[in-house]
């Protein structure tokens, strides 16, 4: 199985390493050459330097043969656009996009891409934790 991970920050690099450990063939795309360092010494997957909006970069990363694509650059709008391009232009089966802004995550949630919104996850987790710890009599 082939995966392309676009954006090699804390999230992208960890996802890439996790998939590689599961036996996926993973190619990572990042604008910054130094981001390769986040993948560790023993990285055997691919690494392409370039912007994910650039289709020549996507194609060099093997997007046409990808079963799954993870889009996790540090820009919400960049991720939204790349996710849609990957889905519509290359017809990739699974496209997972990270969107930090909960409002935009909701707007783009019904377009066939999987959306992961860490901010919403944090909000829900924090709320649930505090609510679960609240004394019963404060409930209305």
């Amino acid at each position: 199985m082939n995966a392309v991970v676009i954006g090699c920050g804390r999230v992208g690099s960890a996802v890439a390493k996790g998939l590689a450990a599961d036996g996926w063939d993973v190619t990572v795309v990042d604008e910054d050459e130094d981001a390769l360092g986040r993948l560790g010494q023993g990285w055997r997957g691919g690494f392409v330097v370039g912007h994910g909006m650039d289709v020549t970069v996507l194609e060099r990363a093997g997007i046409e043969a990808a079963d799954s694509v993870v889009v996790a650059t540090n820009g919400d709008n960049t991720n939204i656009v790349i996710g849609q391009v990957v889905q519509k232009r290359y017809d990739v089966g699974t496209v997972v996009v990270r969107i930090l802004d909960p409002a935009r995550a909701k707007l783009y949630s019904d377009r066939g891409m999987s959306i992961v919104c860490p901010t919403q996850t944090a909000i829900s987790g924090l709320l649930e934790t505090v609510r679960a710890s609240a004394p019963k009599e404060t409930e209305a």
């Binding site: 909006m53 289709v55 709008n77 849609q84 935009r104 707007l107």
Partner: protein, 222 residues
């Protein structure tokens, strides 16, 4: 007319000034504090501060009314694309015009349904092509929605079509020769029209077949 302008750079601020002078109601959105401060001095309440890709900011600008026109003219193509998509698809804005900064991103706007775009680089290149006749084919007008382009081609002495009748040419599918400009006047192309060196041929052709049309009329490029 109510217009929302996303982006207060050179394009956004100049367009806003013109629209206000024409008597239109405009709200301009600018994110950078320094630029916002300067714009506020000139435009007052017409400009609001915020990230125009955030729903709350767009709503503050009145996107839900909705405006008759939205202009997405920031310096970021991703932002312009997302702003246009949200305006059209979520708020039913009828007309959104997006600025394309990097011409390589044009294909993304086309793919994602943002059909009305303006790209300064592409426009300037078009003008440059017009000034360089040896380039062979001048793109006069792109009809993006129709996927057609109106072009002008100058027939040279060595062109494969020189001396041939228009009716016998193997043009690419969907291409039509409209007129030839020769000796200071324009003639509509009929099947019997003989192509002559020096003719300036006006043609309409599917955008994807423009290079093929050039090859038919001028031969393989040198």
């Amino acid at each position: 007319m109510y217009v929302v302008v996303a982006g207060g750079g050179k394009v956004g601020s100049n367009v806003t000034r013109s629209l206000v002078d024409l008597g239109h109601e405009v709200t301009m959105i600018e994110q950078r504090p320094d630029r916002f401060a300067r714009l506020e001095e000139e435009f007052g309440p017409v400009v609001i501060r915020g990230d125009a890709t955030e729903i709350a900011v767009l709503e503050r600008a009145g996107i839900a009314r909705p405006p008759e026109l939205l202009l997405a003219v920031t310096g970021d193509d991703e932002d312009n694309l997302v702003i246009s998509q949200i305006a059209k698809e979520t708020y039913g804005v009828r007309k959104a015009i997006a600025r394309v900064n990097d011409p390589r991103n044009q294909q993304h706007f086309d793919l994602l349904g943002i059909t009305q775009t303006v790209c300064a680089t592409t426009s300037i290149l078009g003008l440059v092509e017009h000034e360089v006749p040896e380039h062979g084919l001048v793109r006069l007008l792109e009809l993006q929605k129709e996927g057609l382009v109106v072009v002008e081609v100058q027939v040279e002495g060595g062109s494969p079509v020189a001396g041939k009748k228009a009716g016998g040419l193997a043009l690419p599918t969907g291409a039509r020769l409209i007129s030839v400009w020769r000796q200071g006047r324009s003639e509509l192309v009929e099947p019997s029209t003989v192509m002559r060196p020096g003719d300036q041929v006006l043609a309409v052709v599917p955008t994807t077949a423009a290079a093929d049309l050039r090859r038919v009329l001028l031969g393989a490029s040198k």
